[in-house]
Amino acid sequence: MNDTPLLQVKNLSTSFPTEQGVVHAVNGISFNLDIGNTLGIVGESGSGKSVTAYSILRILTDPGRITGGEIYFKGENILNYSEKEMYDFRGKKISIIFQDPMTSLNPVYTVGNQITEAILLHTDRNKKEANERALNLLELVGVNDPQKRLKQYPHELSGGMRQRVMIAIALACEPDILIADEPTTALDVTIQAQILELMQELQKKLGMAIIMITHDLGVIAEMCNEIIVMYAGRICERGTADEIFYNPCHSYTKGLLRSLPKFTKDREKLIPISGTPIDLLNMPKGCAFAPRCKDAMQICLSELPKEIPINDFHLASCWMNVKKVYDEVKEGRKNG
């Protein structure tokens, strides 16, 4: 194994100062991503998934600021890069595709123009070579009649086609990491499956790492080997896909999984997570999920849970796990 991970996020914090106060969107998260791996980030709206992604590319919109932490790409802290160095970094080393392909392409430029723009920016290809490359890319992402599509405007394409074009733009310079920010949320189900399949295929072909951001556990299960569960800008649980799905150790993850429909039992009722997402303006002192957690204890409200290992492939930040260990020890003493 390689010693330095491809991407290493350390204690990243991002906040948005507003008139009402500071919105703490991301609060000290850390994770690694290795070459060729797929990392899934799950969480509900406002949990800080997308802000994490935008922070990595430093494309936060005003007034968003990275307030702490480090982001190492191949051992270099990109937070120390100048804006000019970032121009060279974005789209070349790390690319991103967005949630809504209907609005993510510029309506007044042709598809060809928007793909070749990235190629011309990051490579030495001339216009003609860039056009050829764009044509190949459209073929690669499975767009039919690519020659014609190059000259078309986004409004002339369907949603699925546009997302394929977005992927083509993202892959234009063969990035090491592709961040997919809810890439299938705005698409209908059959197209969703096609896009996910395409991404997996491309990953095999090009060997890039993928960060898959979604609130759809189905997508995560299909795509990722490692999963991070986020809540209120913090990581509450992380581990391999199997561990998270079959051995959830954080009340929030358990709730998420309970709210998924299963096809094994008939007429089983879905259990929603009660309450509303936390107000990021007034973060509680303890665990952010405690106000909605039915197992919350005194300590959950007053102290932030530490991330503790469940096993070699699994970490969770929940006081319940500490209690469990404590109870086991006590039980053991009694018996022994």
Partner: protein, 303 residues
């Protein structure tokens, strides 16, 4: 494209005809006439004059006579000065075109620059300064501004001479005429740029590694221009009507003045000639702005 332009031109001809009819009949509905003044000529002379200019015939007949004359390229002569209407229009238009053309050009250039500056420095001092300026300019009628400019710069400070035939200084009239549209375009550009900055495709462009300047100029500005271009039509209408007021204040003998004095004198051929001319001009500018609109926004189709 060509088919669309032809269709629009045909429609434009219909509009011009309707405007012509409305102007002709309402003009004739106003009591009095070109020769019914305080110093009215002898009844016999008046009868001869009216016969000479077909004014003794029924209005409907006059209308058709007038139209058939127009199709022969004859716009008649001024009942006041006796000069050819077409010559008068072209002479005075060369003055008005300078005034209106420069004003539109300045309004567009300044509006785009100020609007972009305000959007880029949002809530900082340049933006606040620009907001102050636009609020002031939108709130002040051009005749008040024109008079103030004349008073301050020509009479008190004597830095810019007032307009005269020998000394055609267009600075003050252009400022007076262009201030309102400049402010309007500034606000339009600012709000539309801010709207565009929040769009997903701007984020896409940034994520691609497009430098900031290029994001603004290539990706944002072209989209933000769309509402500004649709304003070119109304802008033309504004500077046409606005120049009537401004020309009167600065005593510039342009088309606007001819139009206004034509009406007060009830100089029928003059009223008709200027109306038709302005209507055609307006229609052409609207057509141009629609074609430009299409050139900038591919989502607009002509079919």
């Amino acid at each position: 494209m060509l088919k669309y332009a032809l269709k629009r031109i045909l429609l434009a001809m219909v509009s011009v005809f309707v405007i012509m009819a409305i102007a002709f009949f309402s003009m004739n509905a106003i009591p009095g006439g070109p020769f019914a003044k305080e110093k009215a000529p002898e009844p016999a002379v008046q009868a001869v004059l009216e016969k000479r200019f077909n004014l003794d015939k029924p209005v409907m007949e006059q209308f058709f006579l007038y139209i058939s004359n127009i199709f022969q390229g004859d716009f008649g002569i001024s009942l006041k000065t006796g000069r050819e209407i077409s010559t008068t229009i072209f002479e005075s238009f060369s003055i008005s075109a300078k005034l209106g053309g420069y004003s539109i050009l300045i309004a567009l250039i300044m509006g785009l620059i100020l609007g972009s500056t305000a959007a880029l420095t949002r809530n900082k001092w340049p933006d606040q300064l620009i907001v102050f300026f636009t609020t002031l300019s939108v709130g002040m009628p051009s005749f008040v501004l024109g008079t103030l400019l004349l008073l301050v710069f020509s009479l008190i400070l004597k830095v810019v001479p007032a307009w005269s035939i020998e000394n055609q200084n267009y600075v003050l009239p252009i400022i007076a005429l262009s201030l309102y549209p400049t402010a309007h375009i500034t606000r339009l550009t600012k709000s539309s740029l801010l709207d565009v900055f929040g769009q997903d495709y701007i984020r896409t462009a940034r994520a691609k590694g497009v430098p900031r300047i290029k994001v603004i100029v290539k990706h944002a500005l072209r989209n933000a221009l769309i509402p500004v271009i649709t304003y070119i039509g109304p802008l033309t209408a504004y500077s046409l009507t606005g120049s009537m007021v401004i020309e009167t204040i600065f005593t510039i003998g342009g088309l606007g003045t001819k139009f206004v004095t034509g009406i007060t004198n009830q100089d029928y051929p003059m009223i008709m000639g200027t109306t038709i001319f302005l209507a055609i001009l307006m229609v052409i500018m609207t057509l141009i702005s629609d074609l430009l609109y299409r050139a900038v926004d591919p989502r607009i189709s002509f079919d």
